[in-house]
Amino acid sequence: MGFKMKYVYLDYAATTPMDPEVIKEIEKHYRETYGNPSSFHKIGQNAAQILEKSREIVASLINAKTDEIFFTSSGTESDNLALKGVAFKNKGRGNHIITSSIEHHAVLHTCQYLEKQGFKVSYLPVDEYGLIDLKELEETITNKTILISIIFANNEIGTIEPIKEIGEIAKKHDVIFHTDAVQTLGKVPIDVEEMNIDLLSASAHKLYGPKGVGLLYIRGHGVRKGWGNYIEPLLHGGGHERGLRSSTENVPGIAGFAKAVELCKRSMKEESEKLIKFRDKIIKEITENIEDVYLNGHYTKRLPNNVNLGFRYIEGESIILSLDVEGIAASTGSACSSKSLEPSHVLLAIGQKPEDAHGSLRITMGRYTTEADIDYFLEKLPPIIEKLRKMSPLKNGKKYMFDPTYEINHHH
């Protein structure tokens, strides 16, 4: 595929480019730190030191203890370990799990799998902004509830859930609280103590680190008062990561993750100020200058880098395809661009009609986004929307097929 001279990347929620400093760090460790951290000799012990140093750096970002960080191969694996690990270990205690209707597939599909294994899962609805209702959460807890898993900030619409309040409720009822913070780590301050988080998933490639490296924060390194060991490993083997995640650690990748965390710690405040400015500029410019457009998600309880807009009468894949032609990378919740052809469950959960869920555009920005990128995007988007609307039969007030009053052969 040929790249045009100008390419504006606005899909940081999908993945981020690696920071050059991270690349340097990883390269160095690929060359120098080849030992196996489990080996007794100096080469191995050197790798073990790098591993533990990385653990310490990452732990400090979320106010965790070093031994509460467990490295995995991805955000997906961390979500799986949290959910299946707690479910399988605590079958005797209870079989009920509470989650939200706007989870990432890594949580959603794992919950659906657990339902097949006999667990009961409650999927909390969300309001039009994507926020769960705390009262409803508390009322859903039963004496069989073992786990609450709520996404920290949603990957599509950027809504930030009331995590601290959820943590309080979970603590009050002695239920384990997991949050998928894959989109949140490095963008918004996280404190697992203050927020009463028991389990937290994160992934390095969303914060300028390498792909295929993740972590699960596990409170009390898997031991809980009154519960004992509360998490079962998914991978059995040589007993790495204190028996919870066997497999020789990816030391260079983990060191790259730690470097990425270090950089985020340094720049988070400044970066999020910049991104909030860009975010709000895009929202303002587009909602003021284009008709029949609306914001998905919340205006303020929102990730600094996320904009999700709905454009009526047109379809998301055709928008991102047109943007791509102009050298802009963005994303959509439209069914037509996904492998399943089902519209985004997140947009449906916030109450959108299927045809509107089709017309969504997600813009996610990051460290290397400039004001000029935003201006280029704002210049290119309106004519695209206009052209696609000209093509659309919906624009002329014609009815949509999902309308219950509509019959396909009725017209003419």
Binding site: E317, S318, C336, L341, M391, M401
Partner: protein, 124 residues
């Protein structure tokens, strides 16, 4: 993901827009993904004299609508009825497998327009 032909038709759609004085319209929706297509035809001497489309749908849906207007223009109604989704996809140098159903929309839309035209003729 798409061929150059698809991208060409997506970027420069042929015969796009509503036809005010059409002889018949075919409208089809795609229940799988919720898209909608209108095919307008104007008939002269049993041939498709003019044709246009409007589409709410993905890039493939737009490109296949554009392509079918090119394929159908000038054809007799019987010939046009025989255009298949594979003809459309082939003329576009192929479609990704998951997008093959989008080309159904175009061939069904044209057929429906012709059927509507014929039904109207019978009545008159």
């Amino acid at each position: 993901m798409y061929s150059e032909k698809v991208m060409d038709h997506f970027r420069n759609p042929r015969n796009m827009g509503e036809m005010k004085n059409a002889d018949a319209v075919g409208e089809v929706g795609n229940p799988v993904c919720g898209d909608l297509m209108y095919i307008y035809i104007k008939i002269k001497d049993d041939r498709i004299n003019d044709i246009s489309f409007q589409t709410f749908g993905c890039g493939a849906a737009i490109a296949t609508s554009s392509m079918i207007t090119e394929l159908a223009k000038g054809k007799t109604l019987d010939e046009a009825m025989k255009i298949t989704r594979d003809d459309i996809a082939g003329s576009l140098d192929g479609l990704p497998p998951i997008k093959m159903h989008c080309s159904n929309l175009a061939s069904d839309g044209l057929r429906k327009a012709i059927e509507n035209y014929r039904a109207k003729q019978k009545k008159e």
